[in-house]
Amino acid sequence: MTEKILEFPEPAIRSEPMLLNLGPQHPATHGVLRLICELDGETVLKVTPDIGFLHSSFEKLGEYRTWNQIVPLTDRMDYLAPLIYNCVYVMAVEKLMGLEVTERCKVARVLCMEMDRIFSHLLWLGTTAIDVGAFTPFLYAFQERERIYDLHEAYTGARITTSATRVGGMMADFPDGWTDSLRDFVKTLPKTLDEIESLLTTNGIHLGRTLDIGVISGEDAINCGFTGPNLRASGVDYDLRKDNPYYDYETYDFDVPIGENGDCYDRYLVRMEEMRQSLRILDQALDRLPDGPINVADPRVSLPSKTDCMNDMESMIHHFKLITEGILVPAGDCYFAVEGSKGELGMYVVSDGGEKPVRWRIRPPSFVNLSVIAKLAEGHLVSDLIMINASLDIVLGEIDR
Protein backbone atom coordinates (compact mmCIF):
# COMPACT_ATOMS: atom_id res chain seq x y z
CA MET A 1 0.00 0.00 0.00
CA THR A 2 1.50 3.25 -1.06
CA GLU A 3 1.42 6.07 1.39
CA LYS A 4 -0.71 8.79 0.13
CA ILE A 5 0.30 12.19 1.25
CA LEU A 6 -2.80 14.14 1.75
CA GLU A 7 -2.73 17.27 -0.23
CA PHE A 8 -5.09 20.05 0.34
CA PRO A 9 -5.89 22.46 -2.44
CA GLU A 10 -5.06 26.11 -1.98
CA PRO A 11 -7.94 27.69 -0.09
CA ALA A 12 -10.19 29.74 -2.28
CA ILE A 13 -10.49 32.35 0.47
CA ARG A 14 -8.38 35.36 -0.04
CA SER A 15 -6.90 36.50 3.25
CA GLU A 16 -6.04 40.06 3.88
CA PRO A 17 -4.29 41.79 6.68
CA MET A 18 -6.57 43.15 9.35
CA LEU A 19 -6.48 46.52 10.98
CA LEU A 20 -6.84 46.37 14.75
CA ASN A 21 -7.03 49.38 16.95
CA LEU A 22 -5.80 48.98 20.53
CA GLY A 23 -6.63 51.83 22.82
CA PRO A 24 -6.41 54.56 23.77
CA GLN A 25 -8.67 53.23 26.46
CA HIS A 26 -7.39 49.72 27.08
CA PRO A 27 -6.32 47.94 30.21
CA ALA A 28 -3.07 46.62 28.83
CA THR A 29 -1.63 49.69 27.22
CA HIS A 30 -0.44 51.12 30.54
CA GLY A 31 -1.97 54.45 29.90
CA VAL A 32 -3.69 56.24 27.07
CA LEU A 33 -1.64 54.77 24.28
CA ARG A 34 -3.13 53.83 20.98
CA LEU A 35 -1.57 51.04 18.97
CA ILE A 36 -2.75 50.65 15.41
CA CYS A 37 -1.88 47.12 14.44
CA GLU A 38 -1.90 45.51 11.06
CA LEU A 39 -2.37 41.84 11.64
CA ASP A 40 -2.14 38.76 9.52
CA GLY A 41 -4.31 36.53 11.63
CA GLU A 42 -2.67 36.83 15.03
CA THR A 43 0.70 37.93 13.73
CA VAL A 44 1.63 41.55 13.89
CA LEU A 45 2.84 42.86 10.56
CA LYS A 46 3.17 46.44 11.58
CA VAL A 47 2.29 48.42 14.66
CA THR A 48 2.05 52.18 14.76
CA PRO A 49 1.78 53.83 18.14
CA ASP A 50 -0.37 56.92 18.29
CA ILE A 51 0.41 59.15 21.23
CA GLY A 52 -0.63 62.57 22.39
CA PHE A 53 -3.71 61.51 24.31
CA LEU A 54 -2.23 62.91 27.49
CA HIS A 55 -0.51 65.96 26.08
CA SER A 56 -0.62 68.48 28.87
CA SER A 57 1.87 70.93 27.45
CA PHE A 58 4.17 70.91 30.45
CA GLU A 59 6.90 72.50 28.42
CA LYS A 60 4.73 75.46 27.43
CA LEU A 61 3.39 75.76 30.94
CA GLY A 62 6.92 75.83 32.27
CA GLU A 63 7.61 79.00 30.31
CA TYR A 64 4.93 80.75 32.36
CA ARG A 65 6.13 79.60 35.75
CA THR A 66 9.07 80.71 37.84
CA TRP A 67 11.91 78.31 38.39
CA ASN A 68 10.64 76.96 41.68
CA GLN A 69 7.04 76.89 40.52
CA ILE A 70 8.00 74.32 37.92
CA VAL A 71 8.85 71.72 40.56
CA PRO A 72 5.20 70.68 41.16
CA LEU A 73 4.81 70.28 37.42
CA THR A 74 7.63 67.78 37.32
CA ASP A 75 5.78 65.35 39.61
CA ARG A 76 2.94 65.01 37.24
CA MET A 77 4.90 63.80 34.29
CA ASP A 78 6.34 60.57 35.55
CA TYR A 79 3.90 59.96 38.34
CA LEU A 80 5.51 56.62 39.06
CA ALA A 81 8.83 58.10 40.15
CA PRO A 82 8.09 61.71 41.00
CA LEU A 83 11.13 62.31 43.17
CA ILE A 84 13.47 61.48 40.33
CA TYR A 85 11.85 64.15 38.20
CA ASN A 86 11.89 66.64 41.03
CA CYS A 87 15.58 66.01 41.55
CA VAL A 88 16.75 66.07 37.95
CA TYR A 89 14.97 69.32 37.21
CA VAL A 90 16.55 71.23 40.07
CA MET A 91 19.87 69.58 39.33
CA ALA A 92 19.75 71.01 35.83
CA VAL A 93 18.91 74.48 37.10
CA GLU A 94 21.59 74.31 39.77
CA LYS A 95 24.16 73.30 37.22
CA LEU A 96 23.19 76.26 35.08
CA MET A 97 23.51 78.54 38.08
CA GLY A 98 26.77 76.97 39.15
CA LEU A 99 25.18 76.21 42.49
CA GLU A 100 26.60 73.47 44.67
CA VAL A 101 24.20 71.95 47.13
CA THR A 102 25.12 70.78 50.61
CA GLU A 103 26.45 67.30 51.26
CA ARG A 104 23.35 66.36 53.17
CA CYS A 105 21.23 67.44 50.26
CA LYS A 106 23.24 65.35 47.84
CA VAL A 107 22.84 62.19 49.88
CA ALA A 108 19.19 63.02 50.52
CA ARG A 109 18.55 63.31 46.81
CA VAL A 110 20.34 60.03 46.17
CA LEU A 111 18.03 58.47 48.76
CA CYS A 112 14.99 59.97 47.07
CA MET A 113 16.04 58.91 43.58
CA GLU A 114 16.88 55.34 44.50
CA MET A 115 13.72 54.99 46.55
CA ASP A 116 11.68 56.14 43.60
CA ARG A 117 13.53 53.86 41.25
CA ILE A 118 12.28 50.98 43.36
CA PHE A 119 8.86 52.64 43.50
CA SER A 120 8.66 52.72 39.72
CA HIS A 121 10.00 49.23 39.20
CA LEU A 122 7.50 47.82 41.67
CA LEU A 123 4.63 49.26 39.69
CA TRP A 124 6.16 48.00 36.47
CA LEU A 125 6.42 44.57 38.09
CA GLY A 126 2.83 44.55 39.24
CA THR A 127 1.34 45.68 35.96
CA THR A 128 3.56 43.48 33.82
CA ALA A 129 2.62 40.50 35.93
CA ILE A 130 -1.04 41.33 35.36
CA ASP A 131 -0.39 41.42 31.64
CA VAL A 132 1.07 37.95 31.83
CA GLY A 133 -1.95 36.92 33.83
CA ALA A 134 -0.51 36.84 37.32
CA PHE A 135 -2.59 38.94 39.69
CA THR A 136 -0.85 38.13 42.96
CA PRO A 137 2.44 39.94 42.30
CA PHE A 138 0.40 43.06 41.64
CA LEU A 139 -1.00 42.92 45.15
CA TYR A 140 2.36 42.16 46.71
CA ALA A 141 4.06 44.93 44.76
CA PHE A 142 1.38 47.44 45.68
CA GLN A 143 1.60 46.51 49.31
CA GLU A 144 5.27 47.39 49.20
CA ARG A 145 4.50 50.54 47.30
CA GLU A 146 2.16 51.54 50.10
CA ARG A 147 5.18 51.67 52.36
CA ILE A 148 6.91 54.02 49.97
CA TYR A 149 3.71 56.04 49.76
CA ASP A 150 3.86 56.35 53.52
CA LEU A 151 7.47 57.51 53.31
CA HIS A 152 6.56 60.04 50.64
CA GLU A 153 3.69 61.29 52.71
CA ALA A 154 5.67 61.54 55.92
CA TYR A 155 8.31 63.58 54.15
CA THR A 156 6.43 65.76 51.73
CA GLY A 157 2.79 65.51 52.69
CA ALA A 158 1.71 63.93 49.43
CA ARG A 159 1.71 60.34 48.34
CA ILE A 160 2.49 60.79 44.69
CA THR A 161 2.94 64.42 43.77
CA THR A 162 5.80 65.03 46.12
CA SER A 163 7.33 68.32 44.85
CA ALA A 164 10.10 67.71 47.32
CA THR A 165 12.96 69.67 45.84
CA ARG A 166 13.69 73.33 45.42
CA VAL A 167 16.51 75.00 43.60
CA GLY A 168 19.29 74.92 46.15
CA GLY A 169 17.94 72.17 48.34
CA MET A 170 14.83 70.38 49.41
CA MET A 171 11.49 71.63 50.62
CA ALA A 172 12.32 70.47 54.13
CA ASP A 173 14.59 68.18 56.03
CA PHE A 174 13.62 64.60 56.77
CA PRO A 175 11.29 64.29 59.74
CA ASP A 176 12.45 62.40 62.81
CA GLY A 177 12.39 58.68 62.34
CA TRP A 178 12.05 58.87 58.59
CA THR A 179 15.45 57.38 57.91
CA ASP A 180 14.65 54.58 60.34
CA SER A 181 11.47 53.77 58.44
CA LEU A 182 13.42 53.81 55.21
CA ARG A 183 16.02 51.51 56.67
CA ASP A 184 13.27 49.20 57.81
CA PHE A 185 11.87 49.18 54.30
CA VAL A 186 15.30 48.43 52.83
CA LYS A 187 15.66 45.46 55.19
CA THR A 188 12.28 43.94 54.46
CA LEU A 189 11.79 44.53 50.75
CA PRO A 190 14.15 41.70 49.64
CA LYS A 191 11.81 39.18 51.21
CA THR A 192 8.90 40.38 49.10
CA LEU A 193 11.08 40.51 46.01
CA ASP A 194 12.07 36.90 46.67
CA GLU A 195 8.43 35.93 46.95
CA ILE A 196 7.54 37.63 43.70
CA GLU A 197 10.56 36.13 41.99
CA SER A 198 9.53 32.69 43.10
CA LEU A 199 6.22 33.31 41.38
CA LEU A 200 7.62 34.64 38.12
CA THR A 201 11.25 34.00 37.38
CA THR A 202 11.09 30.26 36.80
CA ASN A 203 7.41 30.17 36.00
CA GLY A 204 6.79 28.27 32.78
CA ILE A 205 4.01 30.52 31.62
CA HIS A 206 6.02 33.64 32.29
CA LEU A 207 9.04 32.19 30.53
CA GLY A 208 6.95 31.18 27.58
CA ARG A 209 5.53 34.67 27.32
CA THR A 210 8.84 36.51 27.65
CA LEU A 211 11.72 34.39 26.37
CA ASP A 212 12.87 35.45 22.91
CA ILE A 213 10.08 37.97 22.64
CA GLY A 214 10.91 41.46 21.42
CA VAL A 215 14.60 40.88 20.85
CA ILE A 216 16.80 43.81 19.93
CA SER A 217 20.55 43.82 19.54
CA GLY A 218 22.85 46.19 21.31
CA GLU A 219 23.83 48.33 18.31
CA ASP A 220 20.25 48.59 17.12
CA ALA A 221 19.24 49.57 20.59
CA ILE A 222 21.73 52.40 20.77
CA ASN A 223 20.84 53.62 17.32
CA CYS A 224 17.17 53.63 18.22
CA GLY A 225 17.86 55.61 21.34
CA PHE A 226 17.08 52.97 23.93
CA THR A 227 18.38 53.82 27.35
CA GLY A 228 18.01 52.43 30.81
CA PRO A 229 17.12 48.84 31.67
CA ASN A 230 15.90 48.25 28.10
CA LEU A 231 19.34 49.05 26.73
CA ARG A 232 21.17 47.16 29.40
CA ALA A 233 19.10 44.07 28.73
CA SER A 234 20.51 44.12 25.21
CA GLY A 235 24.01 43.88 26.55
CA VAL A 236 25.12 47.49 26.43
CA ASP A 237 26.77 48.71 29.58
CA TYR A 238 25.46 52.25 29.73
CA ASP A 239 24.28 53.56 33.05
CA LEU A 240 24.55 57.27 33.69
CA ARG A 241 25.29 56.61 37.33
CA LYS A 242 28.52 54.95 36.31
CA ASP A 243 29.33 56.64 33.01
CA ASN A 244 28.52 60.23 33.80
CA PRO A 245 28.24 60.20 37.55
CA TYR A 246 26.63 62.85 39.67
CA TYR A 247 26.28 63.24 43.40
CA ASP A 248 29.22 60.95 44.18
CA TYR A 249 27.64 57.89 42.60
CA GLU A 250 31.14 56.71 41.75
CA THR A 251 31.78 56.30 45.46
CA TYR A 252 28.84 54.00 46.04
CA ASP A 253 29.40 50.30 45.75
CA PHE A 254 26.80 48.83 43.44
CA ASP A 255 26.58 46.75 40.28
CA VAL A 256 24.75 47.40 37.08
CA PRO A 257 22.97 44.32 35.74
CA ILE A 258 23.54 43.68 32.05
CA GLY A 259 21.43 41.27 30.04
CA GLU A 260 22.43 39.07 27.16
CA ASN A 261 19.63 38.51 24.72
CA GLY A 262 17.67 41.72 24.71
CA ASP A 263 14.35 39.99 25.07
CA CYS A 264 11.49 40.66 27.48
CA TYR A 265 12.80 38.14 29.97
CA ASP A 266 16.14 39.91 30.18
CA ARG A 267 14.41 43.23 30.70
CA TYR A 268 12.48 41.62 33.54
CA LEU A 269 15.63 40.21 35.11
CA VAL A 270 17.53 43.46 34.74
CA ARG A 271 14.83 45.41 36.54
CA MET A 272 14.48 42.88 39.32
CA GLU A 273 18.20 43.01 39.92
CA GLU A 274 18.21 46.79 39.69
CA MET A 275 15.80 46.92 42.57
CA ARG A 276 18.18 44.91 44.69
CA GLN A 277 21.09 47.10 43.70
CA SER A 278 19.10 50.18 44.57
CA LEU A 279 18.60 48.70 48.01
CA ARG A 280 22.36 48.43 48.33
CA ILE A 281 22.77 52.07 47.39
CA LEU A 282 20.06 53.08 49.83
CA ASP A 283 21.81 51.20 52.60
CA GLN A 284 25.09 52.94 51.93
CA ALA A 285 23.48 56.32 51.51
CA LEU A 286 21.65 55.96 54.81
CA ASP A 287 24.95 55.14 56.48
CA ARG A 288 26.65 58.18 55.09
CA LEU A 289 23.87 60.73 55.43
CA PRO A 290 25.72 63.61 57.06
CA ASP A 291 24.30 66.12 59.44
CA GLY A 292 24.09 69.71 58.47
CA PRO A 293 21.79 72.00 56.63
CA ILE A 294 19.76 70.57 53.82
CA ASN A 295 19.49 73.84 51.94
CA VAL A 296 22.47 75.73 50.71
CA ALA A 297 22.85 79.18 52.20
CA ASP A 298 23.36 80.90 48.88
CA PRO A 299 21.66 84.28 48.80
CA ARG A 300 20.62 83.79 45.19
CA VAL A 301 18.22 81.06 46.14
CA SER A 302 17.86 80.74 49.86
CA LEU A 303 15.43 82.67 51.91
CA PRO A 304 16.88 84.35 54.96
CA SER A 305 15.65 83.09 58.29
CA LYS A 306 12.55 84.56 59.82
CA THR A 307 14.51 85.97 62.71
CA ASP A 308 16.74 87.86 60.34
CA CYS A 309 13.78 89.10 58.36
CA MET A 310 12.17 90.48 61.43
CA ASN A 311 15.34 92.14 62.60
CA ASP A 312 16.94 93.78 59.62
CA MET A 313 15.51 95.50 56.61
CA GLU A 314 17.85 94.03 54.04
CA SER A 315 16.87 90.49 54.90
CA MET A 316 13.27 91.51 54.68
CA ILE A 317 13.77 92.95 51.21
CA HIS A 318 15.80 89.94 50.18
CA HIS A 319 13.01 87.67 51.31
CA PHE A 320 10.45 89.81 49.55
CA LYS A 321 12.34 89.83 46.27
CA LEU A 322 12.93 86.12 46.28
CA ILE A 323 9.31 85.38 46.97
CA THR A 324 7.67 87.82 44.62
CA GLU A 325 10.13 87.80 41.80
CA GLY A 326 11.45 84.31 42.16
CA ILE A 327 15.03 83.28 41.79
CA LEU A 328 16.95 84.51 38.81
CA VAL A 329 19.01 82.10 36.77
CA PRO A 330 21.89 83.40 34.65
CA ALA A 331 21.57 83.29 30.89
CA GLY A 332 22.61 80.10 29.21
CA ASP A 333 21.45 76.61 28.72
CA CYS A 334 22.10 73.33 30.42
CA TYR A 335 21.31 69.74 29.63
CA PHE A 336 21.44 67.51 32.64
CA ALA A 337 20.69 63.82 32.48
CA VAL A 338 20.32 61.24 35.21
CA GLU A 339 19.66 57.56 35.18
CA GLY A 340 15.92 57.60 35.71
CA SER A 341 13.92 54.50 36.38
CA LYS A 342 12.99 54.21 32.72
CA GLY A 343 16.18 55.34 31.09
CA GLU A 344 18.14 58.50 30.50
CA LEU A 345 16.04 61.28 31.85
CA GLY A 346 17.33 64.61 30.70
CA MET A 347 16.25 68.15 31.39
CA TYR A 348 17.33 70.94 29.10
CA VAL A 349 16.76 74.35 30.58
CA VAL A 350 17.37 77.56 28.71
CA SER A 351 17.45 80.83 30.54
CA ASP A 352 17.80 84.43 29.48
CA GLY A 353 18.58 85.68 32.92
CA GLY A 354 15.02 86.00 34.09
CA GLU A 355 12.86 84.33 36.65
CA LYS A 356 11.11 82.11 34.12
CA PRO A 357 12.76 79.76 31.68
CA VAL A 358 12.87 80.52 27.99
CA ARG A 359 12.61 76.86 27.26
CA TRP A 360 12.22 73.84 29.45
CA ARG A 361 12.68 70.64 27.60
CA ILE A 362 12.29 67.20 29.10
CA ARG A 363 14.04 64.37 27.34
CA PRO A 364 11.65 61.58 28.26
CA PRO A 365 13.11 58.09 28.17
CA SER A 366 9.76 56.44 27.52
CA PHE A 367 9.13 58.58 24.43
CA VAL A 368 12.22 57.24 22.73
CA ASN A 369 11.76 53.73 24.10
CA LEU A 370 8.24 53.50 22.75
CA SER A 371 9.22 54.55 19.25
CA VAL A 372 11.07 51.26 18.92
CA ILE A 373 8.02 49.11 19.53
CA ALA A 374 7.30 48.77 15.83
CA LYS A 375 10.67 47.16 15.31
CA LEU A 376 10.34 44.93 18.35
CA ALA A 377 6.86 43.61 17.69
CA GLU A 378 7.12 42.77 14.02
CA GLY A 379 6.40 39.15 13.45
CA HIS A 380 5.16 38.47 16.94
CA LEU A 381 1.66 37.66 18.07
CA VAL A 382 -0.74 40.18 19.48
CA SER A 383 -0.30 38.84 22.99
CA ASP A 384 3.44 39.23 22.56
CA LEU A 385 2.86 42.82 21.54
CA ILE A 386 1.19 43.39 24.89
CA MET A 387 4.11 41.78 26.65
CA ILE A 388 6.64 43.87 24.74
CA ASN A 389 4.72 47.00 25.57
CA ALA A 390 4.77 46.04 29.22
CA SER A 391 8.45 45.19 29.22
CA LEU A 392 9.36 48.61 27.84
CA ASP A 393 8.08 50.18 31.05
CA ILE A 394 6.50 53.28 29.59
CA VAL A 395 4.61 55.99 31.33
CA LEU A 396 2.36 58.08 29.15
CA GLY A 397 2.64 61.15 31.32
CA GLU A 398 6.22 61.61 30.30
CA ILE A 399 5.74 60.49 26.72
CA ASP A 400 3.04 63.05 26.02
CA ARG A 401 4.07 65.71 28.47
Binding site: I36, G52, G225, D333, G353, R361, F367
Partner: protein, 233 residues
Protein backbone atom coordinates in the same frame (compact mmCIF):
# COMPACT_ATOMS: atom_id res chain seq x y z
CA UNK B 1 30.25 87.19 41.01
CA UNK B 2 28.65 87.63 44.34
CA UNK B 3 30.01 90.56 46.25
CA UNK B 4 30.82 89.07 49.59
CA UNK B 5 31.29 92.36 51.37
CA UNK B 6 27.89 93.73 50.41
CA UNK B 7 24.56 92.71 51.78
CA UNK B 8 22.55 89.75 50.66
CA UNK B 9 20.25 92.14 48.85
CA UNK B 10 23.09 93.22 46.61
CA UNK B 11 23.95 89.63 45.87
CA UNK B 12 20.47 88.99 44.59
CA UNK B 13 20.71 92.14 42.51
CA UNK B 14 23.99 91.14 40.99
CA UNK B 15 22.97 87.62 40.20
CA UNK B 16 22.22 87.01 36.54
CA UNK B 17 23.52 88.40 33.31
CA UNK B 18 21.02 89.95 30.99
CA UNK B 19 20.72 88.71 27.50
CA UNK B 20 21.02 91.70 25.24
CA UNK B 21 22.44 89.81 22.28
CA UNK B 22 20.53 90.92 19.18
CA UNK B 23 21.08 87.63 17.40
CA UNK B 24 19.14 86.00 20.12
CA UNK B 25 21.41 83.44 21.57
CA UNK B 26 23.04 84.30 24.86
CA UNK B 27 26.66 83.78 24.00
CA UNK B 28 29.36 83.38 26.53
CA UNK B 29 32.79 84.29 25.40
CA UNK B 30 34.20 81.64 23.12
CA UNK B 31 35.04 78.66 25.19
CA UNK B 32 38.38 76.97 25.26
CA UNK B 33 38.09 74.29 22.60
CA UNK B 34 40.95 72.34 24.02
CA UNK B 35 38.70 71.26 26.85
CA UNK B 36 36.84 68.90 24.54
CA UNK B 37 38.68 66.78 21.97
CA UNK B 38 35.76 66.73 19.56
CA UNK B 39 35.57 70.47 19.26
CA UNK B 40 39.16 70.81 18.10
CA UNK B 41 38.70 67.97 15.68
CA UNK B 42 35.47 69.47 14.36
CA UNK B 43 37.05 72.83 13.82
CA UNK B 44 39.95 71.33 11.92
CA UNK B 45 37.74 69.08 9.79
CA UNK B 46 34.92 71.42 8.98
CA UNK B 47 36.50 74.79 9.33
CA UNK B 48 33.97 77.50 8.65
CA UNK B 49 30.95 75.24 8.94
CA UNK B 50 31.54 75.36 12.65
CA UNK B 51 30.21 78.83 13.29
CA UNK B 52 30.81 79.17 16.96
CA UNK B 53 31.75 77.25 20.06
CA UNK B 54 30.95 78.02 23.64
CA UNK B 55 30.94 76.44 27.04
CA UNK B 56 27.72 76.55 28.99
CA UNK B 57 26.97 75.69 32.59
CA UNK B 58 30.59 75.21 33.48
CA UNK B 59 31.59 72.26 31.37
CA UNK B 60 29.05 71.67 28.62
CA UNK B 61 30.47 72.26 25.17
CA UNK B 62 28.13 73.63 22.57
CA UNK B 63 29.00 73.87 18.90
CA UNK B 64 27.02 76.00 16.46
CA UNK B 65 26.99 74.49 13.01
CA UNK B 66 25.75 75.81 9.69
CA UNK B 67 22.24 74.46 9.28
CA UNK B 68 22.79 73.58 5.63
CA UNK B 69 25.46 71.03 6.49
CA UNK B 70 24.05 69.57 9.64
CA UNK B 71 23.68 66.07 8.29
CA UNK B 72 27.27 65.98 7.10
CA UNK B 73 28.64 67.16 10.41
CA UNK B 74 26.47 64.81 12.43
CA UNK B 75 27.37 61.90 10.20
CA UNK B 76 31.03 62.59 10.78
CA UNK B 77 30.42 62.88 14.49
CA UNK B 78 28.69 59.54 14.49
CA UNK B 79 31.12 57.65 12.31
CA UNK B 80 34.57 59.01 13.00
CA UNK B 81 36.30 56.48 15.27
CA UNK B 82 37.67 59.17 17.56
CA UNK B 83 34.21 60.64 18.06
CA UNK B 84 31.66 57.81 17.76
CA UNK B 85 28.65 59.71 19.06
CA UNK B 86 26.42 56.74 18.65
CA UNK B 87 23.64 57.78 21.00
CA UNK B 88 21.48 60.67 19.94
CA UNK B 89 20.05 61.63 23.28
CA UNK B 90 17.73 64.40 22.15
CA UNK B 91 16.63 66.58 19.26
CA UNK B 92 14.76 69.66 20.24
CA UNK B 93 14.24 73.27 19.32
CA UNK B 94 14.34 76.55 21.19
CA UNK B 95 12.29 79.55 20.20
CA UNK B 96 13.61 82.68 21.87
CA UNK B 97 10.80 84.84 20.66
CA UNK B 98 10.95 88.35 19.29
CA UNK B 99 11.75 87.28 15.76
CA UNK B 100 15.00 85.60 16.71
CA UNK B 101 16.02 82.45 14.88
CA UNK B 102 14.90 79.10 16.15
CA UNK B 103 17.70 76.86 17.32
CA UNK B 104 17.64 73.14 16.65
CA UNK B 105 19.56 71.42 19.40
CA UNK B 106 21.10 67.97 19.14
CA UNK B 107 22.35 66.30 22.31
CA UNK B 108 24.92 63.66 21.52
CA UNK B 109 26.56 61.05 23.70
CA UNK B 110 29.34 58.66 22.91
CA UNK B 111 28.86 55.38 24.74
CA UNK B 112 32.39 54.28 24.04
CA UNK B 113 34.23 57.49 24.82
CA UNK B 114 31.78 58.64 27.50
CA UNK B 115 31.54 62.15 26.12
CA UNK B 116 28.69 64.52 25.50
CA UNK B 117 28.36 67.26 22.93
CA UNK B 118 25.63 69.69 22.06
CA UNK B 119 25.27 70.74 18.44
CA UNK B 120 23.05 73.65 17.53
CA UNK B 121 21.78 74.89 14.19
CA UNK B 122 19.99 78.18 13.81
CA UNK B 123 17.09 78.59 11.45
CA UNK B 124 15.52 81.91 10.50
CA UNK B 125 11.79 82.12 11.08
CA UNK B 126 11.08 82.38 7.38
CA UNK B 127 13.20 79.34 6.53
CA UNK B 128 12.34 76.64 9.02
CA UNK B 129 13.69 73.75 7.02
CA UNK B 130 16.56 71.48 7.87
CA UNK B 131 17.77 68.06 6.87
CA UNK B 132 16.52 65.14 8.86
CA UNK B 133 19.00 62.84 10.56
CA UNK B 134 16.75 59.81 10.72
CA UNK B 135 19.11 57.92 8.43
CA UNK B 136 21.85 58.40 10.99
CA UNK B 137 19.95 57.64 14.17
CA UNK B 138 16.49 56.08 14.24
CA UNK B 139 15.97 57.93 17.49
CA UNK B 140 15.42 61.07 15.48
CA UNK B 141 12.22 59.75 13.94
CA UNK B 142 9.85 60.67 16.72
CA UNK B 143 11.98 63.46 18.12
CA UNK B 144 11.91 65.33 14.83
CA UNK B 145 8.22 64.71 14.46
CA UNK B 146 7.72 66.36 17.81
CA UNK B 147 9.79 69.37 16.79
CA UNK B 148 7.70 69.63 13.64
CA UNK B 149 4.49 69.36 15.60
CA UNK B 150 5.35 71.88 18.26
CA UNK B 151 7.55 74.31 16.34
CA UNK B 152 6.70 73.90 12.69
CA UNK B 153 10.21 73.01 11.57
CA UNK B 154 10.22 70.87 8.45
CA UNK B 155 12.74 68.07 8.28
CA UNK B 156 13.50 67.14 4.69
CA UNK B 157 14.00 63.46 4.17
CA UNK B 158 11.94 62.42 7.15
CA UNK B 159 9.90 59.31 6.28
CA UNK B 160 6.77 60.25 8.18
CA UNK B 161 6.59 63.90 9.10
CA UNK B 162 3.22 64.43 10.68
CA UNK B 163 1.90 65.60 13.98
CA UNK B 164 2.61 63.36 16.90
CA UNK B 165 1.29 64.96 20.08
CA UNK B 166 -1.47 67.19 18.79
CA UNK B 167 -4.45 65.77 16.88
CA UNK B 168 -3.97 65.41 13.14
CA UNK B 169 -6.57 68.07 12.39
CA UNK B 170 -5.10 70.59 14.81
CA UNK B 171 -5.52 73.95 13.16
CA UNK B 172 -4.28 76.40 15.75
CA UNK B 173 -0.66 76.28 14.72
CA UNK B 174 2.48 75.14 16.44
CA UNK B 175 2.06 75.35 20.19
CA UNK B 176 5.56 75.85 21.54
CA UNK B 177 6.26 78.90 19.47
CA UNK B 178 6.53 82.06 21.47
CA UNK B 179 3.78 83.77 19.51
CA UNK B 180 1.35 81.00 20.41
CA UNK B 181 -0.77 81.88 23.45
CA UNK B 182 -0.88 79.47 26.36
CA UNK B 183 -4.57 78.73 26.05
CA UNK B 184 -4.55 78.36 22.30
CA UNK B 185 -5.93 80.50 19.56
CA UNK B 186 -9.50 79.29 19.52
CA UNK B 187 -12.06 79.68 22.24
CA UNK B 188 -12.70 76.73 24.52
CA UNK B 189 -16.01 76.23 22.78
CA UNK B 190 -14.36 76.00 19.40
CA UNK B 191 -11.70 73.66 20.73
CA UNK B 192 -14.38 71.40 22.18
CA UNK B 193 -16.29 71.50 18.94
CA UNK B 194 -13.27 70.55 16.89
CA UNK B 195 -12.20 67.88 19.30
CA UNK B 196 -15.57 66.18 19.35
CA UNK B 197 -16.22 66.42 15.66
CA UNK B 198 -13.07 64.74 14.52
CA UNK B 199 -13.78 62.53 11.60
CA UNK B 200 -12.73 58.97 12.32
CA UNK B 201 -10.65 59.05 9.17
CA UNK B 202 -8.39 61.43 11.01
CA UNK B 203 -7.41 58.62 13.29
CA UNK B 204 -5.80 56.48 10.65
CA UNK B 205 -3.09 57.09 8.11
CA UNK B 206 -4.00 56.37 4.49
CA UNK B 207 -1.73 53.33 4.55
CA UNK B 208 -3.56 51.86 7.52
CA UNK B 209 -6.89 52.47 5.86
CA UNK B 210 -5.60 50.62 2.79
CA UNK B 211 -5.00 47.65 5.00
CA UNK B 212 -8.34 48.04 6.67
CA UNK B 213 -10.08 47.89 3.34
CA UNK B 214 -10.94 51.52 2.84
CA UNK B 215 -8.31 52.62 0.36
CA UNK B 216 -7.94 55.78 -1.53
CA UNK B 217 -8.78 58.25 1.18
CA UNK B 218 -7.10 61.58 1.22
CA UNK B 219 -4.92 62.54 4.16
CA UNK B 220 -6.68 64.54 6.86
CA UNK B 221 -7.22 68.23 6.28
CA UNK B 222 -7.61 70.79 9.00
CA UNK B 223 -10.91 72.38 8.06
CA UNK B 224 -13.13 69.39 7.89
CA UNK B 225 -16.86 69.92 7.94
CA UNK B 226 -18.57 68.57 10.99
CA UNK B 227 -20.70 66.13 9.07
CA UNK B 228 -20.44 62.62 10.33
CA UNK B 229 -20.98 59.34 8.60
CA UNK B 230 -24.58 59.16 9.75
CA UNK B 231 -25.41 62.49 8.18
CA UNK B 232 -24.48 61.14 4.80
CA UNK B 233 -27.18 59.17 2.99
Amino acid sequence: MVDESGSAFDAVEQGPKASGDPTGTPRDSDGDPSGHPTVTALQSWFGSTVLHHEVQAGDQHVVFVDAARNREVLKWLRDDPEQRYDLLADVTAVDYGGGKPIQIVYQLWSVGHKRALRVKCELPLDGLTIDSVVQLWSTANWLEREVYDLFGVEFTGHPDLRRILMPQNYAEGHPLRKDFPLRGRFSRAEQTRRALSQDYHDDYTPESLEVGGAPGLAPPEPNRSTETAEDKP
